[in-house]
Amino acid sequence: MSTYTPEQLVEINAQSRKARRAKKWNNFLHMVGNHSLLIALSAIFILPLYLVVVISLMSKGQAETRSLWPHPFVWHNYIEVFTAVPFLKWTLNTLFVSIMGTIGTVVSSVPPAYVLSRLQWKGRQTTFLIILSTMMLPGQVTMIPVYIIFSRLHWIPSFLPLIVPSFFASAFSIFLLRQFFTSIPDEISDAARIDGCNEFKLMMRIIVPLAKPAISAIALFAFLGSWNDFFGPLLYIVENEDLWTLGIGLNAFQGIHHVDTNMMMTASALFMAPVIIIFFFSQKVFIEGVTLTGVKG
């Protein structure tokens, strides 16, 4: 049946082996190509962070010589930054505002998201649309009257304008939570209701524990939102130096005291550090949160 001679079969066999080897080699080349591209891109993304850390460890003189490696390492910068400027106070202020803001956002956003996703009622769709459209509303349109409200209340300068609004729910958090709550099967609620569970208990005891990933996502986004916020503090606390947050303090760094550039990088590094540490521990939550809603914070 076969029309091949043994010599031809050997030849074919060798060819297919060669082809397989070529394919393997090809795959290997692809892998090397992909990874070198990824490594190059990673280097670009890391470079600014690397430079900040490296410069933060240089002496004042060396920081102005465009060098890429500290010589010698001035670890002392990280102590000096706390005495050169009120860095500790700024950190505590920022931490206070961020923690209070996070509590406010979580406490006030869970209930609206719950009724928007787990209960059927007239006007639900309309309410949801209103929430979505407020997400798109540029803050500048409401900024001035809100500022006037706070100034009439004599809340400027104080932390109150930065904290109190977060207790009145954020559209973004409601949206994120609603997306997650909707994915929890209705049967769970039905079963609990048949067993005589009231809505409040159902929300707190059953849905909230199931939605832990989404709730930690909004808590993280809220915390980082306040931690990274610059515009809010610029409006409301800039007049009182005792209330300054890290963002405001850092921006005013050079103007108020004469501080050297290496110190500035030290302070920047310390400002970034908590965010980066939090991110490393909670990457999954972040990435899922962004993917679920398409927006960050």
Binding site: F45, P48, F230
Partner: protein
């Protein structure tokens, strides 16, 4: 209400009904109201009232101390015909949006696409790519203005090392400062990239396999499979990009403070509103600026929405039903 025979059999008397309809859940109105109340309070006092109020103020002269004074359309007249800073800010904003929005989308697709390539280890790269978008805007901007400083920042030294003879002065040069800001924005591409990555991973591999069997090249399968399926994400990031670019403030404000931007090359629309309201205390004029901003963003969004039929493919539409 007393139960009569008629009301009791009412559910059964409908034609063709064989069983009583499933008991509908009683709507716990009070509970719903209580749950929504924080949001309701917020939307009334921090959104609805301020919107109405700023709309009114946009027709007034108001300096925060005296009460607002009705001036009709004066603020708008001043904006369009007398205020050079308004035009400068608008031009800068349009310039940076026109360049950075498409650039950001391309870069986000590219980084996301590269991340889907390797079989193993992509999560480390994903972490690295995402990380800069977490960095506080103030810290990131300070770092950039310093490392891009022509005199003592290391970036230009690196550029010289790879053969660029006269690297730009970046933030110090009015012609280049916006490019510095664009680079800063591209550095923080992470959040946009993640959305694209999720989109790319959603593309069914069977489509690529079919294309490969048909002999499509890598570019062809990207152009005719990946790109059309990415259009909803591209559409979404264009809309959020336009809205965001008109509110672009922190990076520009911090950078221009760091380098003394005398020529106002980093003076954007949101900066103009901030200076009009909180430095000049012209609340009426600033409100008018804010409303023009709202109208501009709404118009842009509408235009993009109008065009979406032509280029946005929804996978749940005809193709994959």
């Amino acid at each position: 209400m007393s139960i009569t025979r008629d009301t009791a059999i009412a559910p059964f008397s409908k034609k063709g009904a064989i069983a009583p309809p499933r008991k509908k859940l009683k709507v716990p109105r009070l509970f719903i109201f209580l749950c929504l109340s924080p949001w309701l309070f917020g939307i009334i006092f921090f959104t609805a009232y301020p919107m109405i109020s700023s709309f009114y103020q946009s027709f007034t002269k108001f300096n925060l101390i005296e009460s607002p004074q009705w001036v009709g359309l004066d603020n708008f007249h001043r904006m369009f015909f007398e205020d050079d800073d308004f035009w400068k800010a608008l031009k800068n904003t349009i310039w940076i949006s026109a360049i950075s929005i498409p650039l950001r989308i391309c870069f986000a697709i590219f980084t996301a696409w590269v991340l889907t390539k390797p079989k193993r280890g992509s999560s480390i790269y994903r972490t690295i790519f995402f990380l800069p978008s977490m960095v506080p805007a103030v810290a990131g901007t300070m770092a950039f203005t310093y490392i891009f400083n022509p005199a003592y920042g290391p970036i230009n030294k690196l550029l010289e090392a790879i053969g660029i003879k006269e690297p730009p002065f970046w933030f110090m040069d009015p012609n280049w400062s916006k490019w510095g800001l664009i680079l800063l924005g591209l550095w923080g591409i992470g959040d946009t990239m993640i959305i694209f990555l999720a989109g790319l991973l959603d593309v069914p591999t069977s489509l690529y396999e079919a294309a490969e069997l048909e002999g499509a090249s890598g570019w062809q399968s990207f152009r005719y499979i990946t790109l059309p399926l990415m259009t909803p994400v591209i559409f979404f990031s264009t809309v959020t990009g336009v809205i965001g670019s008109f509110q672009y403030f922190t990076q520009a404000y911090v950078a221009s403070g760091q380098v003394n931007d005398y020529s106002h090359s980093m003076y954007f629309y949101a900066t103009h509103i901030y200076f009009s309201a909180f430095k000049a205390y012209e609340m009426g004029y600033a409100s008018a600026l804010a409303w023009v901003l709202l109208v501009i963003t709404l118009l842009c969004t509408l235009v993009i929405l109008k065009t979406q039929k032509r280029w946005v493919h929804y996978p749940n539409g005809s193709l994959f039903k």
